[in-house]
Symmetry: C2
Subunit: 436 residues, 2 copies
């Protein structure tokens, strides 16, 4: 007997049925917004990740040398891959480019509750627009998805921040601050205590006084962004604040402003983010971690050798992530059960008729099973029950001698006979009522 | 600039749109037959593959040692993984178990036309039935899928063979024959010349005379299976012949017999097959390789430490395989183009109205894009054309001053104005005709 690998998960049909509905909902919303599906390789040249994030990232990657001597890595995220694809086609693609895809990714990290080494995301990105409408459309896609999943509007919020606001504020205190390190400190601010957070900021190059003032300013900015403009007149800071305000204004027109909370201590972990970043949270606190996040990464495509191409995206985890967990806590995760429209039960020498009926019911789009295991009547009824069959059509020798089949509703137990030649006839979903 | 890895393929939206239709068609047919979706890990303990197929297989696998010291392999096929999953749940699962899934697999092999190192399959399997109806249902699923894909019925055939017929015939000549080697020789019979084929059979332990007689018998069996029964009275051979006949009889009832051709020289390459095996071919010879194949593997689950559990399945390749190639040759591959119902064009200070219209059209399920890149009128019209928008709704300042928007059909160029308050109103797909 073999075991599955640690950090990997098998999805059996019941669990998968619920997750399929989640994925179909997200992808349905993405399609309605005009995002187009793509499919991408599971692995890439490891350099693609190391060049962006440093050798340190290798510790978290599934890397190996393939039989052709290439150093490769399983993809830990989609963004570098789509950046590569945008660069590869260059000017051929008409902008804005709007893509989505659902697929697994892999990270070698500590396995813990709700964290897997193989995890699935639906990535949704816009390339080629630096306009605030692009950020707002990503937010609107995310909000519409959660609404379509059945989550009440007051139960989620997007904590919205801006990398350039953080960076310019930091530089206003100390031009030589290590912005990436300081932003990583901000990213950790909610997870560590205040002393540790301030220490991380001083490690990045701020004095302890500046670190405290900086954090106070973030709090003031959360109340009123204009407070930041009063603190310093740096042009780039003003532009960043105005950009965040413009995104929130577009979010208003796009119907998603009510879900947005200015939250400057939200920073996101990845280095490549540039402008607006956001994380989705459960307002009821049932799930304490971020549900998913996203943001703007305007420099990545150019750093991959492409034309300057602004970009913004979001990547809700599906399958084994915090999103299904939240849906479950909120009581809106689709029921974990398979469904079946008809089981066509065949006993005795009736296979030809049972098969004909099954085929005709399938042709109308029904989910139909029939006996493929030579089972007894009782065993077939038990199986029909196990797959939650709504209606069982019993094709027995005796009934057939009278040119009849029996139609039985499984929920209430009502049953009646129907003329075999008229079943299903031109009915798409024949049931007890049609013949009683 | 980074390159994708050799043998891997990026799917951009146009290509993906066609492949999505292929996958949706196959999965739709599988669902109507009551197959249930599962999802499975990308990688497994390498031992799972080596124990079944010998160390030799490692050459074809993407194997590596992970950071925890585990020897792992990317999955080269689904069957061992689903066998592991069936064993893991044991008696919990009600039989027959009917599963499907679509996902990529990886093999390190020579890259050539139409062969990739990353390839995608829709696997469809039945576990827990040794009955001929199970084999026939797999064939019926495959035939219905090809029909739903638009392939004319006379353009494909299933070449059906039986591993036990081959094995028992071989043993009737020479009890010590290496059946696996001989079956591999049969699998190659159509690809090598007759002398080489016969030499492979003699390598496996037959005399040259027996090899010739054996092959003559396969030819005779293709004409009439009963000819095999006249050659020898081995009980196991008789049972195997009767099993193949029973499968063809069930195939008759299931409406797929017309596509089945007895083809005893069809053997399939993998060692774990036991009973019926088959390959799908293009009857017009446009694609010379097998389109896909499948068969019965009754011993695998037990060899994985589970209860004896007969199994049968099929795995059409999707995305970058021979199936899309055949559909393309036959002129039935869905058109490679994205489609868009509406582009809502916004010029001037009209974003709020344009957004409201876009949202309402999306709520009816339409694919709707609107400006997220601050483009000019002309640039937006060009973009709407590039995404094949059917209808453009122009929301301009001047029209709005008259409380109107303009509705333009892109195909014919007809355009008219519509009262902004009535657009879309309660219309699900408003167009030129509604307002002309």
């Amino acid at each position: 007997m073999y075991d599955r690998l640690k950090g990997f998960k098998d999805f059996y049909p019941d669990e998968m049925a619920a997750r399929r509905e989640v994925i179909d909902t997200l992808e349905g919303v993405a399609r309605r917004y005009g995002f187009r599906e793509i499919a991408t390789p599971a692995m890439e040249d490891v350099g693609m990740y190391v060049d962006k994030s440093g050798e340190g990232i290798v510790e978290e990657l599934y890397t190996f040398t393939d039989k052709g001597g290439r150093d490769v890595s399983l993809a830990p995220e989609l963004t570098p891959t789509v950046a590569r694809m945008v660069v590869a086609k260059g000017q051929e693609l008409s902008k804005p480019i709007k893509w989505f895809s659902t697929r697994p990714f892999w990270r070698y990290e500590q396995v813990q509750q709700g964290r897997f080494r193989e995890f699935y995301q639906t990535n949704v990105d816009i390339f080629g627009s630096a306009e605030p409408e692009a950020d707002a459309e990503i937010l609107a896609f995310a909000a519409d998805s959660l609404a379509d999943l059945g989550l009440p509007p007051e139960e989620f919020e997007f904590r919205v921040s801006h990398r350039d606001i953080l960076g310019e504020l930091l530089r206003s205190f100390e031009p030589k601050v290590d912005v990436q390190d300081a932003i990583r400190a901000v990213d950790k601010s909610e997870k560590v205590d205040r002393a540790e957070y301030l220490a991380l900021l001083t490690d990045a190059g701020l004095t302890i006084e500046d670190a405290e003032t900086f954090d106070d300013l973030l709090a003031a900015g959360n109340e009123d962004l204009d407070a930041l403009l009063e603190a310093t007149d740096r042009e780039d800071l003003t532009a960043a604040v105005k950009n965040l305000q413009a995104v929130l204004s577009a979010a208003e027109d796009f119907g998603v402003r009510e879900h947005c909370e200015i939250s400057l201590r939200t920073a996101r972990g990845l280095d490549y983010y540039t402008g607006v970043v956001f994380e989705c949270f459960d307002t009821k606190g049932r799930v304490s971690r971020a549900i998913f996040g996203g943001g703007r990464y305007d420099d990545l495509i150019e750093s991959f050798g492409g034309q300057p191409t602004p970009a913004v995206g979001v990547a809700p985890g599906v399958m084994n992530s915090t999103l299904p967990l939240l849906l479950e806590e909120a009581g809106v995760l689709p029921e974990e059960a398979v469904s079946t429209d008809y089981y066509v039960l065949s006993v005795g020498d009736t296979r030809d008729v049972a098969s004909r009926i099954a085929r005709e019911l399938r042709a109308s789009g029904n989910i139909v099973e029939t006996d493929v295991a030579g089972r007894s009547f009782g065993s077939q009824m038990g199986y029909a029950d196990s797959i939650n069959a709504e209606t069982v059509v019993i094709v027995g020798e005796q009934d057939l001698a009278n040119d009849e089949v029996t139609v039985k509703e499984m929920a209430g137990g009502e049953q009646t006979t129907a003329p075999v030649e008229e079943f299903p006839g031109d009915r798409e979903q024949p049931g007890y009522e049609d013949f009683a």
